[in-house]
Amino acid sequence: MPKINIVIDGHSLQAEEGTYILQAAKEVGIEIPTLCYYPHMVPYAACRICAVEARNERGWTKVVTACNYPVWEGLHVHTNTPRVLNARRMNLELLLSQSKPVPVLQKLADDLGITEPRWGYGTDTCIKCGLCVRICDEVVGAHALAFGNRGVDREITTPFHLESEDCILCGACARYCPTGHIKMTDIEGRILHSELLLGPNAAITIPFRQAVPNVPRIHTNQCIHMKTGGCMLCAKVCPKECIHFDDQDEFEEFDVGAVIVATGFQDFDPTPMLQFGYGKYPNVISAIEFEQMNSAGSPTGGKIVMENGKEPRSIAILHCIGSRDQNYHKYCSRVCCMYALKFAHLVTEKTSAEIYQLYIDMRSFGKGYEEFYQRILDEGVHVIRGKGAEVVPTKHKRADEGDLLVRCEDTLISKFREIPVDMVILCTALEARKDASDIARKLNISMGADGWFIEAHPKLAPVSTTTDGVFLAGVCQGAKDIPDTVAQAGAAAAQAMKLMSKGEIMMDAAYAVIREEFCSGCKICNDLCPYTAISYDELKKISTVNSALCKACGTCVAACPSGAIVARHFTDEQIYAQIEGILA
């Protein structure tokens, strides 16, 4: 690309052919004010605030718009001459004659020294710069906005003034409107609960700061490109060309010697428990949301704040939400008491809020846990024995009281209590992942009624499963805290290594064999094996048994209509001989 020599305000520089004055000026650090400019689109020169003076060596001079005036050899640009400022002032006064002094225009007016515009102020907030129309058209590709009418009647509108079906609600128009004329309104008036996200997010984000791999991810259902095929701004700005919109999820197959199932849990969703108002009152949050807010990487920077950004004056922490509850999960989630105490400690460290713990039983069973509980009591946390019954808005409150009223029965003093607080944290149950049964089926391990995987023996084989080579670690086997999980994971790893380190495994001599010469590949046995040991050999057109997986249960042997499958050590001949022996 040939270089072109130009001079801007006395700075000589080389610009690439085809660049506009605005871009070249930015490179040498000269700011030119703009309203309708957006880097990733064709410049439109509608607002004309970016006026500059172009001059050649022979003294020819002209006021041009910097955003769309291409550079040429020997061009001299002046951005600050009286003529330029006059032009800008005039253009801004003309804009103001239509528009209210919205902040962006007011600031420009102050910069240009306009105290009283010659033609007064208008009543609109739209300056017809067209940035929204062009973004919707060029970047988003939704084509949901357009100019309507001509001359003084010109306006920004949707086609036929109707609610546009082409709008994808991306919000780009509202985000880039320089005057704030366009606003997003929620037509249905729903409360959008944050779904574990405490702040707005782009469609391309790094999931969280310690994410592995620490790379951004495109949320395909929010990405504009996925909806309209347009935009691709992230790809345009990425210097390493890392963005691939076509990337698809891939399935990879690995040969492994052992499998450790550590699929964890999912957080109980307290929305159905209407009495706690989760999803209804913004300051009722779940424990994991509190943890996210409290983390230094959170949108609040680790500050504990309410939805309105203010620090809460009082917080109620409700234990056993969804656990130890006949209607939801009967089991104890085992971690909540201790993290609830930890929350209390964190809150007292960071704020001066009053803290109320509402518990059924304080289960501080682990090493050092009881001592921590004592410490929390000493820190002045109010600990109330009684499960939180409901959370309602406070009526007739005093100014220093919270908006939310937590009702409970304090069983130690046998009194019904109502506690006004600013924020409620729900200690939600750990529950089995909803896809746990898929994993159980895939790995052929058993699953209890509450969804946790079942170990081979609760005392003697706590990390093994009924399938050899498959081990359990962590909460997928049952609710447990981090020390227990780490201990179990260590045991599972040791079991897996014990299995693999020999390089060979001991097998039971009894297993099923499909004799090739008798199998016709009818596939009757294919889906029967509870240990998924049977597969179909497409090449030979027969079924085969993986003897390492076979447990010699005999299901396939009984089913094989051709007598092609034999259970070693339990052949028909042997069984007949035994019967004859008994009858002899």
Partner: protein
């Protein structure tokens, strides 16, 4: 040089096996050239006395078709065993019992009553029943005594080889005939005793060209109830196809014509009871865990005993129903 002698006999059978032998087309001329016909009641008039007069082991090959269900069948079976070097159980009746063997679901009494009195087409107002011995002016005449239970040929005499099928397929018969002529004229060793000729070790599925998938049966249908997909396994379409529990050798003729295998080629070499094995296999692939639904699905199989044991009741572990 005297030609080797061939005998073909029909016991309790429909005659289809004899026709199947004639159906080997021009190969029948080789048979006629190579063998001396010692005994073949279907095509020529031979007397039992002629056979009785023959020296022992004077018949080289006997193809014995038909089940054993009367004194006469039994007598000739013993006689032919005595006179033959090689005795073949030819066809499903001789080897497995076949259709005549379905009589084992009843007893002799009820069969006789039905055949001579109760059946809608019988006109027998006096209730005359056949008697083993009848006195007539010329003297006493006898008819063979009918057994209560139908037996297979191997159950009554020592059998050298089995040629299965109802009837055995003509191409398989032709191949056997060719092999026999080859063995006899070139003095080759005979195959080991008990060998099944004209069939293979695999099941009928081996010869079936239909696409097979994992089986999940939710409904059983009879052939007239659906128009089957010509390319998909009939069992997956809900038909009771005995193919997987039936010896291959027929060329999967029925299934190629959209008719489920009925099992005429008998049980494959490794199983002991064709019907029981098929029941076991089907029970394994019924796609339900609800006992009532399973009951309802199984209920859709009409005449399960006759379906699963159509060709093999006398040869099965059951042998007969206890009446």
């Amino acid at each position: 040089m005297t030609k080797p002698k061939l005998a073909v006999y029909w016991a309790a059978s429909c005659g289809g096996c004899d026709i199947a032998i004639l159906d080997i087309e021009d190969k029948i001329l080789d048979v006629a050239n190579f063998f001396d016909l010692a005994f073949w009641p279907c095509i020529a008039d031979f007397k039992y006395a002629d056979v009785e007069a023959m020296p022992d082991k004077s018949i080289t090959l006997t193809l014995f078709n038909g089940a054993i269900r009367s004194d006469e069948n039994f007598h000739i079976a013993k006689l032919l065993r005595q006179k033959s070097v090689v005795l073949c159980a030819f066809g499903s009746c001789a080897s497995d019992g076949c259709i005549p063997g379905l009589a084992n679901f009843y007893d002799k009494q009820s069969i006789m009553e039905y055949a001579y009195i109760k059946s809608p087409s019988t006109d027998n107002p006096n209730g005359v029943m056949p008697q083993p011995k009848t006195k007539v002016p010329e003297g006493e005449i006898t008819i063979p005594y009918l057994w209560n239970t139908v037996r297979t040929l191997p159950q009554v005499v020592d059998v050298d080889y089995i040629i299965p099928g109802c009837p055995p397929q003509s191409n398989q018969i032709a191949a056997v005939v060719e092999a026999v002529i080859d063995i006899l004229s070139n003095s080759k060793p005979l195959p080991p005793k008990g060998t099944v000729l004209g069939a293979t070790d695999k099941s009928c599925c081996d010869e079936c060209k239909r696409e097979r998938n994992i089986k999940k049966i939710t409904k059983f249908v009879r052939p007239f109830e659906i128009i089957p997909d010509p390319n998909l396994c009939l069992m997956e379409q809900g038909m009771v196809c005995l193919g997987p529990a039936t010896r291959s050798g027929c060329g999967a003729k029925c299934v190629s014509a959209n008719v489920p295998c009925r099992g005429c080629y008998g049980k494959p070499i490794n199983i002991h009871d064709q019907g029981a094995k098929m029941v076991s296999a089907l029970a394994s692939v019924i796609d339900s865990t609800d006992p009532e639904e399973i009951e309802q699905i199984i209920g859709q199989i009409v005449d399960p005993a006759g379906t699963f044991y159509r060709f093999s009741l006398p040869d099965s572990i059951l042998r007969r129903a206890q009446v």
